[in-house]
Amino acid sequence: MMKKTDGLVTVVWFLGVLYAGAALLLLLPKQAYSEQERRYLAEVPEASGERILDGTYMTELETWLTDHFPMRDALVGVHGMYSYVLGRRDLGGMYFCDDGYRMTKLTAAEVSQAQVTTNALALRKLGECMTELGRSYHVMIVPSSSLQLAEKLPYGAELYDQDAVLNHLKEMLGERAIDLRDVLTEDAHYYKTDHHWTTEGAYEAYLAYCEVVGRTPTRKDCYTELAVTEHFRGTLYAKAPIALCEYDTVTVYKKDETLTVVADGKALPGLYDETALAGEDAYRYFLGGNYGTLTIQSELDATAEGAQRCLLVIKDSYANCFLPFLTGDYAEIHVLDMRYYNGFIKEYAGKNRITDVLVLYGADGYVVDENVPKLALGLTAQIDENE
């Protein structure tokens, strides 16, 4: 039995936590979006008779309560720290690696072999069609840090076989597949806290791309290197937000140029979104997000190599920091994101007088992307699963 004061203290803090929690939970205004976790928070569940009788209301209420719990951000951080101290080396879909790195955890069970094969087939079909119509066609599937910096992973970390996917793709596409596995070998090519590559990494890939298509790349000293933020904590941080997490620096290579940028019909001030630096996701600085269609027109000299060339880039968010390097080489760049664009590539390419095509995805996104097969639509042949 405990003494009276001891008991009183216990009762006071226990009831205090309970009632303070309840009051704050119910009375505080609610946010719709969590910056720290990069996701939308649950909405108030609908209290209809049906939903109460089948129990969905109760489950949704619990979700709503956990999503809007007071000091959720701090508490989620506590949970992450507790898990890490307890020895866990993966949390929320990412691995804690050496040197402050975090890497996406994607296991074989989470990657559908069928999807990977269908995607590769679609890329091949598109390639055959584009080449037939006299366009150059290249595919760059960017290997992730979990492959390129694999020595940093905790021992025994389970991952899908990315090498096999990239090799298979190389087999299917031949020379049209640009293999970056020998190019992106440095720590500086990948962010520690985000699943994207750094601008430095994108530049190395740009050099590789120019070599393959036979163009002279813009030299590094033609750019001004700027660190736009030194406090970037990206998507991999959001998966397990802990105070004890490193910061990344986001660099930008800027040069003097005049561009006209139009995204989904709206004119953008440029390739960079300054407002993104004030928020949590600094990677949004590049392009300001993802759009269905984007066009970039550069004012190039009439005698420049790319003055007559029109590039089509089919991409996921990996291309956002890569595109700025291409503006000096193409008079017009069209950018399509298949998550939001539903038209036929062949039609688009024809209408916009495309001369070159580049498909650019991050490997981890590519293997689970269900929109890649859309690339094969509207071509002369259908995808034959047995090929």
């Binding site: 008991g7 508490l75 506590v78 101290v85 307890l86 389970e158």
Partner: protein
């Protein structure tokens, strides 16, 4: 509703405590009854009707039995008792075992459709509780409860409704009508509740996640198979004992003293001892209401063996309507019979460490039986514990990322943390401020850490929920 949820901790409990405090003493049972029905209906909706039916049914049976006993009409009293027992078992069988019977009968040729009835949560607990009441009324061990609200409160009280401990009416008969809550009692309840919550959320859930990994991996290595089984053993212990702790703690907050349900079962030195430390209220129930009425150990060895068999077969089946649970029960029947009639004496003279190892290994194998409901899954899992690749990189990853957890689980299963804490508090006894601060800071820390985990972990199962 589950105790380990934000809905319970920050909506239900604060509301109920406030109402209970403001409520005049004579209306408190009524309040508890109403909120407990709400608690049950929240999770089970229409099935609250079965709970109400069971309550009213045995309330009336109790009155009838008492009435006939008073009049000296033993035969009639016995008949009503039979009605009560058969009725309760019928409800239990219908909702829990009917599809098991049907599926198995279908195996011999018939093609009956299964009923597909979902299991009402807690039915195995509350039907056993109401039966204990009518049997005890018949035996004259308790008085008839004529106040339906008080009786209803006994049956439906939310602290122990869903997962025990199985509270016999005689344990709380006095407290149903007269109970006091003092600050010290409430604080004791808080401590018990918070520690139970910690066991469930911080320990059981973490262990369970590893078990799920092992069970789901069809190509598990030998080492992972064993490690997974060990993690399951910890999950079920901390889950179930944590829930019992929460129930006892909550009961205390309302002035009830429920019986203990666990007593460091993994410290046992024999299987016999294990079953005196694990799920003690179930053991007590089966002993009082089945073993002893069947003759217990008073009718010779053969009958005693038979009684053992009946009790353990039913104990197994009580845990679930599947063959593996029956096998689990019979497995313990075999071991207990052997200990009782064969090598019990020899075992007692063996060194303590060996006895502990003996008990732990056998209990672990029992858990593998318990955890795999499909017989093919069971064969598969047992197989992988003895045949296959010894270990691989991923197994090592699982081992070292859970090493600290394993250590905490092992320590938590012993009485060591409690002894250390008591000794520490004893040393600092004169520094009241320090002891108060340390104890309360630790408890509050555990509570907040649990809340943090509840916010993030979508994995929050409760294993004894199928009962």
């Amino acid at each position: 509703m589950v105790f380990s949820s934000i809905t319970f901790l920050f909506l239900f409990l604060p509301a109920v405590l406030l109402l209970y405090l403001l409520c005049p003493a004579r209306l408190r049972n009524g309040l508890l009854l109403v909120v407990s029905l709400f608690f049950y209906a929240w999770g089970e909706r229409w099935y609250v009707g079965i709970l109400l039916f069971s309550t009213v049914f045995d309330y009336m049976n109790g009155i009838a039995i008492g009435h006939f006993r008073e009049k000296g009409r033993e035969g009639a009293a016995k008949a009503v008792l039979a009605v009560s027992v058969v009725g309760n078992l019928a409800i239990l069988c219908l909702f829990k075992y009917s599809d098991f019977f049907i599926t198995n009968i279908n195996r011999v040729g018939l093609n009956l459709p299964t009923l597909g009835l979902a299991l009402p949560i807690g039915i195995s607990f509350y039907t056993f509780q109401t039966m204990s009441y009518t049997i005890d009324v018949y035996r004259g061990a308790v008085g008839v409860q004529r106040n339906i609200v008080a009786f209803g409160t006994y049956v439906t009280m939310f602290p122990q409704l869903i997962a025990g401990p199985i509270v016999r009416y005689q344990s709380v008969e006095a407290e149903m009508l007269h109970r006091r809550v003092t600050v010290e009692e409430f604080a004791c309840g808080v401590q018990r509740f918070v520690l139970g919550l910690g066991k469930k959320v911080l320990l059981a859930n973490a262990a369970g996640a590893v078990w799920e990994l092992a069970q789901g991996d069809t190509k598990r290595t030998v080492v992972l198979a064993w490690f997974g089984a060990v993690m399951y053993a910890f999950q079920i212990y901390f889950d179930f004992s944590g829930y019992s702790d929460m129930a006892i703690g909550l009961g205390r907050m309302f002035g009830f003293h429920f019986p203990e349900n666990f007593n460091y079962p993994y410290l046992s030195k024999s299987i016999t001892e294990f079953w005196r430390r694990w799920h003690m209220t179930l053991g007590t129930w089966f002993r009082e209401y089945l073993y002893i009425p069947l003759g217990g150990n008073r009718c010779g060895k053969a009958k005693q063996l038979r009684n053992f068999l009946v009790v353990w077969a039913l104990t197994g089946l009580w845990h679930g309507a599947e063959w593996n649970f029956l096998l689990w029960g019979l497995y313990f029947f075999l071991l207990l019979a052997l200990e009782k009639f064969c090598y019990g004496r020899i075992l007692e003279r063996a060194p303590e460490g060996l006895r502990r190892l003996y008990a732990l290994v056998l209990v672990l194998i029992g858990w593998v039986l318990f955890a795999n409901e499909s017989l093919s899954g069971l064969r598969d899992y047992f197989g992988s514990m003895f045949v296959g690749t010894a270990t691989d990189a991923q197994t090592i990853y699982i081992l070292y990322t859970n090493a600290v957890l394993l250590l905490v689980l092992i320590l938590g299963s012993t009485g060591l943390p409690k002894r250390v804490a008591t000794a520490l508090m004893g040393r600092l006894e004169r520094h009241v401020l320090v002891t108060t601060l340390v104890r309360n800071a630790c408890l509050m820390g555990i509570l907040l850490l649990c809340v943090a985990c509840l916010l993030r972990e979508s994995y929050n199962p409760f294993l004894y929920f199928r009962f």
